[in-house]
């Protein structure tokens, strides 16, 4: 495969550059010599003496061409090819790592294209009435520290568990709202899975809830905002549903607004915690 690739590049080089570039360089050097000789004739030398002097000044044409070739466009391709070779050699040497890197990249992209909700004043009131029926699951490492749950684990748990009405995932984060015509704001928010609110028996007062479709990788990024954000930042805009806002540098579409006083997720307030160790 490598000789083929080399031949391909060699062919490209010849077709696109070498001949035309060489011809042009020859012509350019001839012109250079001619002009130098013209100058010397004007200064009083005979034509043949002028040409001779110009040739001596120019020196070896082949040497000049060799110097120019060293700079050539093709050296860029060669550099690129060396980079490609180096990269593939490195990847071959650590194939396991490559797989992990590629997979986690894919997962990161998948997770990134899910969705999130923006709420303010997180952690004060529990968002559910029947908080004794809510359990929080997480993973612990061997030292007993909370390490969160990977998205594939969450999907497995959701599909295999029979003890719960449903499982939802969330990941808390700060959200910078930087719409072009408004001052920037920093609010609390979370990435959540699509069924989170319906499991909590909560529904947006405006617009729609997240749909399972929104969870798919590649889905359009959508957001449900808190009433406080809707009223405080967007002036209670009646056309808020469908409006595109900028959250953490990404353009996302508002699909819903939650009721006044709704907080998510809850940090205090009596939801039982259970843990699953992996």
């Amino acid at each position: 495969m490598i000789p083929l690739f080399r031949r391909l590049i060699g062919g490209l080089r010849a077709v696109f550059h070498r001949e035309r570039v060489e011809q042009e360089l020859d012509e350019e050097l001839r012109g250079f010599l001619q002009t130098a000789a013209d100058d010397k004739v004007r200064a009083g030398l005979t034509e043949s003496a002028a040409m001779r002097a110009a040739r001596i000044e120019l020196g070896s044409v082949e040497a000049v061409k060799e110097h120019v070739r060293d700079v050539g466009w093709e050296s860029v391709l060669e550099q690129l090819w060396r980079d490609v070779q180096y990269a593939s050699r490195t990847l071959r040497r650590s194939r396991g790592f490559t797989a992990v890197a590629v997979i986690s990249l894919a997962l990161a992209i998948g997770f990134n294209t899910t969705l999130f909700t923006i709420v303010s004043g997180m952690g004060s009131t529990p968002p559910v009435d029947q908080s004794d029926q809510v359990v929080s699951l997480t993973s612990l490492d061997s030292a007993g520290r909370t390490v969160g749950v990977s998205y594939p684990d969450f999907q497995d748990w959701r599909h295999l568990s029979q003890s719960f009405e449903g499982l939802a995932a969330h990941s808390v984060m700060a959200v910078n709202l930087t719409d072009r015509d408004l001052a920037a704001d920093r609010v609390a928010g979370a990435y959540i899975s699509a069924t989170t609110f319906s499991l909590l028996r909560e529904h947006p007062i405006l617009g729609r809830d997240f749909r399972p479709d929104d969870d798919r990788p590649g889905a359009e990024p959508v957001v449900i905002i808190a009433a406080s954000v809707w009223k405080g930042r967007y002036g209670g805009d009646p056309g808020i549903i469908g409006r595109v806002i900028t959250a953490n540098g990404r353009r996302v579409t508002v699909v819903g607004v939650m009721r006044d006083g709704f907080r998510f997720p809850t940090a205090r307030g009596g939801s039982r915690s259970g843990t699953a160790s992996t």
Partner: protein, 113 residues
């Protein structure tokens, strides 16, 4: 052959760009202009000029175009691109800062020489 001063490494490209900032010129004209303006201190031979043209053209700082010369010969005229103009401005600034610093250092040690 006349003895001439070697150019400081890396300055030829900058000088070519500066020469072209006034008007597009062909290779011979550029070399001649450099020699005239430096009052003969720098005589740049073709073996240095042409690789520099190639380098600058490859990097998109100058652009070549075939045209007729005043003597009715065909020559490749080089012109500065927008990118070349920006590079020249940047390099000139850097050069001024560096030469000023070098001059200060050399002035400091004149008493010893």
């Amino acid at each position: 052959m006349r003895k001439t001063t070697d150019l400081v490494q890396g300055t030829l490209d900058m000088l070519i760009l500066k020469t072209l900032a006034l008007e597009p010129m062909h290779g011979y004209g550029i070399g001649l202009r450099l020699e005239q303006i430096s009052q003969g201190v720098f005589r740049v031979n073709a073996g240095s000029l042409f690789p520099a043209f190639r380098r600058l053209e490859r990097d998109g700082l100058i652009k070549g175009e075939w045209r007729a010369t005043e003597n009715h010969r065909r020559a490749k005229y080089y012109a500065l691109t927008a990118q070349g103009r920006a590079t020249l401005r940047r390099e000139t600034r850097q050069w001024e800062v560096q030469t000023a610093a070098i001059a200060r250092i050399l002035k400091m040690s004149t008493s010893e020489s």
